[in-house]
């Protein structure tokens, strides 16, 4: 006794696409593409966030070195260090200026001179750590005025390093965008090849259905529905497979973002998931959606172009 026929058949497979072997590999190939896309996205976001972090930390900073700090200043009373500090503090565009004390100076030099710096009685310069406001000072004018008060004073701006770092970050982002484009193109080619193989395998069925009055949209829709599902599945598999790799990379990248192991109570596996940039949590689910869109559009285009050979 056969089962009673259901009134509405959810998925009527008139072209027999479920039996076609040609697209069985499709989800796995798309998964590989999605995996690469996830890495490229993560690389792009990481470059952007590191650049931002460095910029926030160092954009608004100057280091001023004053040789022979205790010697009297050229044009005013007081020591060279005091006059330079006063001059800097009185300049528009300066948020804060502070001379490093002996301990801080020793700490700064320790990597080069070892721990007994103070016993070496070297003629050390004073180092003034300067924080700038958003607008910043006129650096050339400031340098000239400082040189007048205390000749030999050096002003080191971090801006040039920042420009180089942000150029590097922008280049990395451009590479990631290029990689994403290539991955999308390869994914589209994979879907197109699978669709063409499906068309060749079901040619007779397609001709019969076409002869019975099916529109191009009807036939293309059957292929596109299947390609969309396969590509979405592949995209999801790829995104899931990329997760452990991304978490490991985020773990490695944390010290560069200013967090040290042990210095942060959240720095352990319990907060590992929080290590990924927030944007990545939005972009990872977009991978299956993007793959599905590529699958849909490619299958529609491929089938409609193929059908033009029929009258």
């Amino acid at each position: 006794m056969r089962e009673p026929r259901p009134l509405r058949r959810a998925r009527f497979d008139d072209l027999g696409l479920r039996r076609a072997l040609s697209d069985r590999m499709l989800p796995f190939m798309v998964a590989a593409m999605a995996f690469l896309a996830a890495l490229a996205l993560a690389g792009s976001l990481a470059a952007a966030s590191l650049a931002r972090h460095w910029q926030e930390g160092a954009a608004a900073a100057l280091t001023v070195q004053v040789p022979r700090p205790k010697a009297p200043a050229e044009t005013h009373d007081g020591t060279r260090q005091d006059r330079v500090l006063l001059l800097i503090q009185g300049t528009p565009g300066i948020a804060e200026a502070r001379a490093l004390n002996d301990d801080e100076l020793a700490e700064l030099l320790r990597p080069w001179l070892g721990s007994g710096v103070e016993r070496l009685s070297l003629p050390l310069p004073a180092v003034i750590d300067v924080r700038l406001t958003a607008s910043g000072p006129d650096l050339a004018a400031l340098t000239a005025r400082l040189a007048a008060v205390a000749p030999g004073t050096q002003v080191e701006s971090h801006g040039i390093w920042l420009r180089r770092l942000s150029a590097l970050a922008r280049s990395l982002q451009a590479c990631a965008a290029l990689a994403l484009l290539v991955v999308a193109a390869v994914a589209a080619s994979v879907v197109a090849v699978a669709t063409r193989a499906g068309l060749a395998a079901r040619r007779q069925s397609i001709e019969i259905v076409h002869g019975l009055g099916a529109t191009d949209g009807y036939i293309a829709g059957r292929f596109a529905r299947r390609a969309t599902g396969s590509a979405a599945l592949g995209g999801a598999l790829g995104a899931i497979a990329a997760m452990p790799v991304l978490l490991a990379l985020a773990h490695l990248a944390r010290p560069f973002a200013g967090l040290q192991p042990g210095s942060d109570p959240g720095y352990d596996t319990t907060s590992l998931l929080g290590a990924l940039p927030g944007a990545l949590w939005l972009l990872l689910p977009a991978l299956p959606a993007g793959a599905a869109l590529i699958g849909f559009l490619t299958a529609q285009g491929t089938v409609r172009r193929w059908l033009r050979r029929l009258p």
Partner: protein, 223 residues
């Protein structure tokens, strides 16, 4: 209904035109008419049918099917027209992975009919061709005669205005052939235009009707 006006047909292969297989055909079949299409193998019967079921467009001349000029019609206008034409092929052209029910339901599903109506129509049609008990059977599990009847049910389930049949009795014994002819005449009486290609003289003698006589791609008789 169907009108040929100096129609010729050349097939193209690889972008190049082959020799003309139909030459300068001029005839018409009125609405509700019945015609035999007679000729030896290779006379051009199948090509003539292909023109009428819109699997090919004329290379020259003017072909009008169900009021539409086929040579001038836009490609996207043809699917709707095809749904008004039923075809019974010599080799059935059933979809092998679909049951008899689903094969017969195919034109209705393509036409977007509601599933409830499809079920009623298909079951009625399968009863009409005597295959109701075999609704869920695949074509490969049926005899040639049964497959032929599924093909006929599929051709007429959409109540076509034009029914074309290419050697429809080729796989049937005499009793089945007689029953098929009875079905075709019944449809014709209900208003469907019917054109049947055959080289079965016995069948033509048994069911006298006007005939189109083809030879080497030319029409040599229309009576």
């Amino acid at each position: 209904m169907v009108r040929f006006d100096h129609v010729g047909l050349q097939y193209e292969s690889g972008g190049r035109s082959g020799p003309e297989v139909l030459h300068d055909l001029t005839f018409s079949v009125p609405e509700g008419g019945f015609r035999w299409l007679i000729g030896h193998s290779g006379a051009g019967k199948s090509s003539l049918l292909r023109l009428m079921y819109l699997a090919a467009r004329p290379s020259r001349g003017k072909l009008t099917v169900l009021g539409t000029d086929i040579g001038a019609a836009e490609r996207r206008a043809l699917p709707r027209l095809r749904r008004r034409i039923g075809v019974v092929f010599q080799d059935f052209r059933l979809l092998p992975h679909l049951s008899a029910f689903d094969n017969v339901a195919l034109p209705l599903r393509i036409g977007g009919r509601p599933e409830g109506q499809i079920r009623a129509d298909v079951q009625e049609m399968l009863r009409w061709v005597g295959l109701a008990p075999k609704a869920e059977v695949l074509p490969a599990e049926m005899s040639g005669g049964e497959q032929q009847r599924v093909a006929i049910a599929r051709a007429v389930v959409g109540r076509p205005s034009l029914l074309l049949a290419d050697e429809p009795t080729g796989n049937l014994d005499d009793a089945q052939a007689a029953r098929l002819m009875q079905l075709l005449r019944e449809l014709n009486r209900l208003g469907t235009t019917v054109i049947v290609a055959t080289h079965n003289d016995f069948l033509v003698d048994r069911h006298p009707a006007p005939a189109l006589l083809l030879d080497h791609g030319r029409l040599i008789g229309d009576a």
